[in-house]
């Protein structure tokens, strides 16, 4: 099991307490993956060679290593085997970036490594996010989630309840809604918000709520899950999120 440091009670600020290591000898790939994953709220270090990666991993153990197979100094697979043998990095999961139509033998060796997944570039942000979440999070998310601030109106609650309510995190399946008055768990809310000049109307259910306790993740509010959303609205949210996370870094114009 990868070691995940739990925030101590004295931690008043939620610094990202894990980082991912991206290893690729291609500068364009490194840039794309590193920017994309930073936007998805991960701390990222990059290495251009296997040697740099091994050095970095020995100084500070990453929560995950995402590596290309054709590194300029060594094979990515060999590097992974070396790190698997070192006690400090033996439990670090790997995601391998394989070429299209990668050989069967290659696949087999990857499977033998355990805790290893392979992806074939170009990797969509959704697939990358889901794979990374599965590798490092105890409750992995399946949909891209971004931080944003959208004003929301709640139509089935009194006005003073909804005043100043805004989204702080958004995905196509739910959101975190900022409010000093979080509703109790399981409350059903009818919400409306504006996204790129379109009005999105959803019904959502409160799945948890939080009050101020210090630290940036502890803003008061409630986590909501969408229980009714039109397919078109879901598509609009997905499109909005994809555009936000890949703006200016898409592999084509990178």
């Amino acid at each position: 099991m990868a070691k995940h440091r739990m925030p101590a009670a004295s931690d008043r600020v939620d610094w990202k307490n894990r980082y991912l290591l991206v290893v690729d000898s291609d500068a364009t790939n490194r840039y794309y993956l590193s920017m994309l994953l930073q936007r998805l709220n991960y701390q990222i270090f990059t290495a251009a060679t296997a040697q740099e990666a091994v050095e970095m991993a020995s100084i500070s153990v990453p929560s995950l290593i995402i590596t290309a197979l054709d590194l300029k100094d060594r094979d990515g697979l060999e590097m992974a085997q070396q790190l698997k043998q070192a006690p400090s990095t033996a439990d670090v999961p790997f995601i391998f970036l394989t070429r299209e139509g990668g050989q069967l033998a290659e696949r087999r060796s990857l499977e033998q490594l355990g805790m290893a997944v392979s992806l074939t570039p170009p990797v969509s942000p959704e697939v990358l996010y889901r794979t990374v979440q599965q590798a490092v999070e105890t409750t992995p998310r399946t949909c891209l989630r971004i931080q944003t601030r959208l004003l929301v109106t709640v139509s089935n609650m009194p006005l003073n309840f909804t005043e100043g309510t805004c989204v702080s995190e958004l995905s196509e399946s739910g959101m975190f809604l900022h409010t000093p008055n979080p509703a109790v768990v399981n409350t059903k809310l009818s919400l409306q918000f504006n996204l790129n000049q379109s009005i999105i109307a959803v019904e959502a259910k409160v799945i948890y709520n939080s009050r101020i306790s210090g630290g940036p993740k502890h803003e008061p509010g409630m986590g909501l899950e969408f229980v009714r959303i039109a397919p078109r609205d879901r598509e609009l949210i997905r499109e909005f999120i994809r555009n936000e996370v890949t703006r200016d870094i898409t592999p084509m114009n990178a």
Partner: protein, 253 residues
């Protein structure tokens, strides 16, 4: 009069589009430096050699390059010279990092077009200030920490500020998360609670932001502290410093 200052949240979409580059052949230094930049809320990419830095800068031009001088494949002077000579990167601000204080080295860095030369052990606040000057239109001089701390407004009706809290805090001011629109220049008497310590202070409103002003606009008030006991200010300063450098060995950054 309209306030000229832009709240950071308003341009955070733009902010996300830029990134800094850190160049250092020492993995430990690289790790400490980039952790600080991450905590200052910047995106960054790293390079462990001058060659890697030059190659990466051709993929996407960074907003700032911070480079150590002792690189494994080339001297930092030479990297800076090459960046300045290339039309693509000639306008990118440069900051050099030296292993120790050396006036001749500093002078040479300035001649090469660097904004400055910092020496190790690196002070987090000095780094913050130097980066702010290099990349921000309205550079801040004090470290600002994103932290949620409950706050009470003493001289205003309670319901207006119900549930208010800080989002960003520095020893000189804060961003107060509230939907209560209060005019610029209003003087507020505040009570802040940090780690169980009650801090009384007075602050004036510098700017206000309304929700709905775009997908990243945070509703709230930018405040400047106008009265605070020196020991309380010192406490906030220390609190921020401790949080920013937490887990980073002193002198390592």
């Amino acid at each position: 009069m309209a306030d000229q200052r832009t709240h950071p949240s308003e341009n955070s979409a733009d902010k996300k589009r830029r990134f800094l580059m850190v160049v250092d052949s020492d993995a430990r230094n690289l790790s400490c430096l980039s952790t600080l930049l991450d905590r200052f809320n910047y995106q960054f990419c790293i390079a462990t050699s001058a060659g890697e830095a030059l190659e990466s800068a051709m993929v996407a031009v960074p907003s700032l390059v911070i480079t150590a001088l002792g690189l494994k494949d080339m001297h930092g002077f030479e990297l800076m010279r090459q960046l300045k000579q290339n039309p693509l990167t000639s306008q990118v601000p440069l900051i050099a990092l030296n292993s120790h204080e050396d006036l001749d080295v500093k002078k040479r860095c300035l001649e090469l077009g660097a904004l400055g030369c910092l020496s190790r052990p690196l002070d987090a606040e000095t780094l913050y200030r130097t980066v702010q000057v290099a990349v921000e239109k309205n550079p801040r001089s004090c470290m600002r920490l994103r932290t949620v701390q409950p706050i009470k407004v003493n001289n205003m009706p309670d319901d207006g500020f119900y549930g208010a809290y800080t989002l960003d805090l520095s020893e000189r001011g804060m961003f107060l998360r509230t939907v209560n629109p209060v005019p610029v220049h209003t003087r507020l008497s505040l009570q802040l609670n940090i780690d169980g310590r009650i801090i009384e202070l007075e602050a004036t409103v510098l700017y206000g932001c309304q929700a709905g002003g775009g997908p990243y606009c945070e509703p709230g008030l930018g405040l400047q502290i106008v009265r605070i006991a020196p020991k309380d200010q010192q406490f906030i300063r220390q609190f921020i410093r401790n949080e920013v450098t937490r887990g980073i060995a002193p002198g390592n950054a």
